[in-house]
Amino acid sequence: MSETIAPLENEGKKLRKVIAASSVGTLIEWYDFYIFGSLSVVIATKFFPADNPTAAFLSTLATFAAGFVVRPFGALFFGRLGDLIGRKYTFMVTLLIMGFSTFAIGLIPGYETIGFLAPVLVLILRLLQGLALGGEYGGAATYVAEHSEPGKRGYRTAWIQTTASLGLFISLLVILATKKSMSPEAFANFGWRIPFLISIVMVGISYFIRKNMDESPVFQKAKDEGKIVANPLKESFGKKLNFKFVLLALFGATMGQGVVWYTGQFYALSFLQKVANIEFEQSNYIIAASLAGGTGFFIFFGWLSDKIGRKVVMLTGMLLAICTYRPIYQAMYETADVSLKTEVVGSRKVTTDYMMIPKSVDLKKIIKTKVAYTDGTEMTVEETGLVTLFPGRNPVKPDIKKTIHVGSEGFWYLILLVFIQVLYVTMVYGPIAAFLVEMFPTAIRYTSMSLPYHIGNGIFGGLLPAVATYLASKATAANEVAKTAGQQIPFDKPYLEGLWYPIIIGGVCFVIGLLYVNGKDKEIND
């Protein structure tokens, strides 16, 4: 079909409202989804006690199932609804489900109060969050794209693309602000609930904005003409004509986009905290500053994709990412590596404290060493051990915790290194909504674009932190075994081994995208 919907160029105000209504709602959904992850440590202590294996298992389910398994199901369920009853009503439902689930998590009494019911309720609500997120994105992207005039679809939908990073950014800011406004004890007691509870206000505002919007004109036209299919799932995945494009969208675009996205934002944060040992607050500031600097580029690359094509922008980002990840992470590691820095003479301070352990005859011994370096970096090593009053008992291995606060120059350098990764994210992610929307016909668009997006992001991307951490820890363990046996260590830089996952997945996706993706398909009124 080549018939074109009347251009909306003169309806700029209405279009801006469409973009704002869709983007704000999607932003809130990402915010809701991320605060759970960002507060996972506190949530674990309140709902999932580590010494209880069943609760720990529920915690693992809440982390993995909601992010990976449930999102594609949400894409199928709500995608089907969106293709049958309309984009607008469907993504209003997902917004409400997400808002109420998040609010309810903030209200659930802890494990100490209601026992096992607490982790079970949290798990159910977390699954609902994943389900809602699975349905939201495809709806918002399709809704904006179907309102946009040809030639500006990349630019318009790029506003939706900013929401995932902005949602993460706002979640970090709200958590940091809540933490700053009260004592650590108050935050642990009730303060952690505030980021969950305020979500209901944001969802309420977004609901009333969205409520007054019209249905997508492209969908409305298809509906009026009786072109809505009875079974979008069968049409999308049961017919080779459509299914081959679902596979192409997954393996030639969203799979690589997912790993680049997660590496640039989540793995970078995890690497800073767990490998480079940079303190919690400083590492979050580094990510927040990089996101703040990079978010505008989603719009730029969305706009650029209207001019030079989606394929070239996305594949360039993917290629740059897979070629430069190792040197970037090596530089991040070295910036925090104190063995490469000069210690300030006389700065080393060692203090020893003893603490009584309730209901025990043992004492906790804490040795704190603080060292300053000439570039302004400070390192704190806290060694916690036990002093036992029974001489015959086996000594317990002390727990050593190292935290580094990098100096000003290192801090800005790390922001630059993470910012480069965020730029790659904006290149692969900025144009992808327009790319996916243009790949499928109106009757099955919501369903067909949502599934590859959530498999690419949720599964290939979402598994990245777990797989990459596993690969790095396996390499470290192999080195330790070799060292003990007096052999040469097999991995020169074990901390970089985790990067093979995004490099290989991104590399395969790049080749498939280069060979098979057609960068010229831009008609959506079919």
């Binding site: 294996p53 993995f64 997954l250 777990a466 797989v467 060979l515």
Partner: protein, 72 residues
């Protein structure tokens, strides 16, 4: 270019099968045998999520490529 797209279909089929073998046989079985939450969780992810997706998806994608479904 269409000939290259078609020939690469075989590469995607082999890659899918190799990924399945690596994830199921070389990784998951060993992890399940080791036991413990730290090993079982990645084993479940490999066996029931990544391997079926990669192997199934890549094999079908490769078959479509071999059948010239992606030619222009």
């Amino acid at each position: 270019m269409n000939a290259i797209r078609r020939v690469f279909g075989l590469v995607w089929i082999l890659l899918g099968l190799a990924a399945g073998y690596f994830l199921e046989v070389l990784q998951s079985f060993a992890l399940f045998e080791k036991g413990g939450m730290d090993n079982v969780v990645p084993a479940i992810i490999y066996s029931f999520i990544l391997a079926p997706l990669l192997t199934g998806g890549m094999v079908i994608f490769g078959l479509y490529a071999l059948q010239n479904e992606y030619q222009r």
